[in-house]
């Protein structure tokens, strides 16, 4: 049994970390009243921007500096996601475009953007498989704690991850603290619940919406970076990221807009997502699709549960999806 956990949990965590980044970023965004369905696209863009940065650095230099090997892709990823967040804000907050349409368009755009540059890089690298491997950069990202191996099962289950995985947990904890315990968080919640109230209380609604959405987008983008450089060992192939972006959005609902729940919930989702790999040999493989549905079923179940209980605190921010204009009558 312990053997099963030692094999299963690290894989569930690896699968769950991108979801954790995505859902924490999206939760922060939604707390400001912006329903950013572009998260899937943003994670995609975050991933490909990191790949572009790493590719340029790997091919441009002979001896790679480990610090720059991490810093360059990280910077590119954050920049790409930030620009996506800014674009979303400009359209929905400044121009007051419909949030659903904008978000869906940005997902389509983000995936297209990723596949276009991914395809170009694969051509440039001259690989004979439709993917590009950045193993050196990945080596820097995936570096694990040196003493993890020596601690047996404990080390394997709790300490065998790269720094981005721990960063995800720290970010989730920090986001939870900021949202629930600080003045900024209180103001942010007010903006998402009732922008007119926040405005009348002297809060700069536009600034909060921009800041929360852009920071949220950058956090989500890191999910794409982790996926490519750690989970996929630096191998980029088009469309491999799959529906993880949507899973992250489902997680926001599942965690009832509390980033701290995202820590266990995203790992649980990750586990459900890969459960099919552990079905006994010989079972019809078609059944794996049903296993992959599990996270979405869990989300639907959670939605039903929160609707039945109808507790005000467990509902989405009241003005989620609506744009705000002060002189609107």
């Amino acid at each position: 049994m312990l053997d099963f956990f030692i094999r299963f949990i690290p894989r569930a965590v690896g699968q769950g970390i991108p979801l954790m980044f995505g859902s924490v970023g999206e939760t922060l965004t939604e707390k400001s009243g912006n329903l950013n369905l572009g998260t899937a696209g943003i994670m995609y863009v975050g991933g490909i921007c990191g790949v572009i940065g790493a590719f340029l650095y790997e091919t441009g230099t002979e001896t790679m500096n480990p610090f720059l090997g991490i810093a360059i892709p990280l910077f590119c990823c954050l920049l790409g996601s930030l620009l996506m967040g800014l674009l979303y804000c400009f359209l929905t907050v400044s121009l007051r475009a419909n949030q659903n349409v904008t978000g869906l368009a940005m997902t389509t755009f983000g995936v297209g953007f990723g596949n276009f540059f991914g395809g170009s890089l694969i051509k440039l690298s001259g690989a004979d498989v439709p993917s590009i491997a950045l193993s050196k950069s990945s080596g820097f990202f995936a570096a694990k704690l040196p003493f993890a191996e020596r601690l047996g099962w404990f080390g394997k289950i709790f300490l065998s991850y790269s720094f981005l995985a721990y960063a995800a947990i720290v970010i989730a904890l920090a986001a939870s603290y900021v949202i629930n315990k600080t003045r900024v968080g209180l103001n942010l919640r007010a903006v998402g619940e009732s922008p007119a109230t926040a405005d009348a209380a002297g809060i700069d609604v536009i600034r909060y919406k921009y800041a929360a959405t852009c920071i949220g987008a950058m956090i989500s983008g890191l999910g794409g970076l982790y996926y490519v450089f750690d989970y996929a060992s630096g191998v980029w192939s088009n469309d491999a990221f799959g529906d993880r972006g949507w899973l992250a959005i489902a997680l926001v609902i599942f965690t009832i807009w509390e980033p701290i729940h995202s820590i266990w919930a995203s790992i649980a989702f990750g586990g459900l997502y890969i459960l099919h790999m552990f079905i006994p040999a010989g079972t019809n493989l078609a059944i794996k699709e049903i296993y992959q549905m599990a996270p979405f079923l869990a989300t639907i179940f959670m939605l039903i549960l929160t609707s039945i209980h109808n507790k005000k605190e467990n509902q989405p921010p009241a003005s989620l999806g609506l744009s705000y204009f002060r002189e609107d009558r």
Partner: protein
Amino acid sequence: MAADIPVLRLEHITKRFGDVVANDDISLDVRQGEILALLGENGSGKTTLMNMISGIYYPDEGTIFAKGKQVEIASPRDAFALGIGMIYQHFKLVDVLTAAENIVLGLDDGRKLDLKKSARHIKEICLKYGFDIDPEKKIYDMSVSEKQTVEIVKVLYRGADLLILDEPTAVLTPQETDRLFNVLRNMKSDGKSVIIITHKLQEVLSISDRVAILRKGRYICDMDTKSANAQELTDAMVGRSVKLNIERPVPVNPKRRIVVKDLTVQGEEGVEKLKGVSFELRSGEILGVAGIAGNGQRELLEAIAGLQPVHSGEIKYVEDDGSEEELVGKDPLKIMEMGVSLAFVPEDRLGMGLVANMDLTDNMMLRSFRSGKSVFADRKQPHNLAEDVVDKLEVNTPSVSTIVRKLSGGNVQKVLVGREIAMAPTVLLTAYAVRGLDINSSYTIYDLINRQKKAGVAILYVGEDLDVLLELCDRILVLCGGQVSGIVDGRTTSKQEVGTLMTNLGGGIYAK
């Protein structure tokens, strides 16, 4: 500070929305330690003017002086900095936060968020002016009057010394209104200034020191309350002489029309919204329904109209010949065809009854589109009806093809009531028919209702303003917590009696 420098002075303020001039060259002073009532009809620009003082709107022309110095108020934050705080008609509170969280919202003293310390400060303010609130309580658990208290504490917490209240009493019971006025008087003796917007003349006369009157965006005059009377104020507000008496003809030959027995209605999660309600509604009489908002008024009307599932009890419709028919379980359409008409004016006016984005003709059609045999709806009759309503009720609209959303509140209500009356009903159910309407439009509506009464229609009138209920209704049914607290004669009862029945079932220990 010298007493003769006004805390706030407005000079030549003008604000336009597109082609509409909402405020036209308004100049106004607010003195220290006074309660100034701002009076005007709907659409006379009172709220717009106040929104400019509190930083929601920015004036197109004119200057504002605070304590003698010229100031710019570009945002609510600027207004706070000048000690100006506004309590809006629609509360600006976040439901899922506690009172304390709402109060400290948007403030930054540069230190860590300390809700315990804030709660202590809130308690001090409450003690000083005579309120009572629980800082830990969530807004969604609060009554309307508690929410209003939070709003007032919120501006006091920010150190406001000029408070603006936009129709604060519209949602309060008489007792709550008295309590609010006591608080306002405490503030006044503490040297604070108060501007209060209200439609109710009795309140203006009882609370204010001075009255300023606006009409159609212009400043008309101001007068000392001591030397003013209700008639004078109304005439200045409307611009012509208005008769201030509501007629109350004695019901002619009243017959039982609707008999309600032991009616119980359950809301979500089995909460009883109405419990054992029994009464009779007679033809040619107006039965008023009084009660604090949300005590079952809506459920009562909807149950009769067939829109609300009834848990137990019966509702009988009595024909002229005395035969009875059960309404419970009947289709709303069937009930409507029997002559029971519902004119419900919800808080947002357009929620139920009219479709905001459709024009007058189409809204008339909502009642008649089923008639006729052809596949195509008959547009001619509704069109004529719309023109008729516009004509008879003096609805102020460019044409009958204007969408309803663009009309002002009073006109929207006239259209709704006009359509229901045109159905020639035998029972008219109205709720909040004059909600938010100014005096002139209100009297038009009262007149319409009275004409129906004289024609023998049985009218159930759910109202908010007790003064009006006492003047208009033949009998008044008081609801408290979904139960009938008492049915009193409108001609002999007193405001005090009804108010007590509203808050205590059967009048409680204070009865008799």
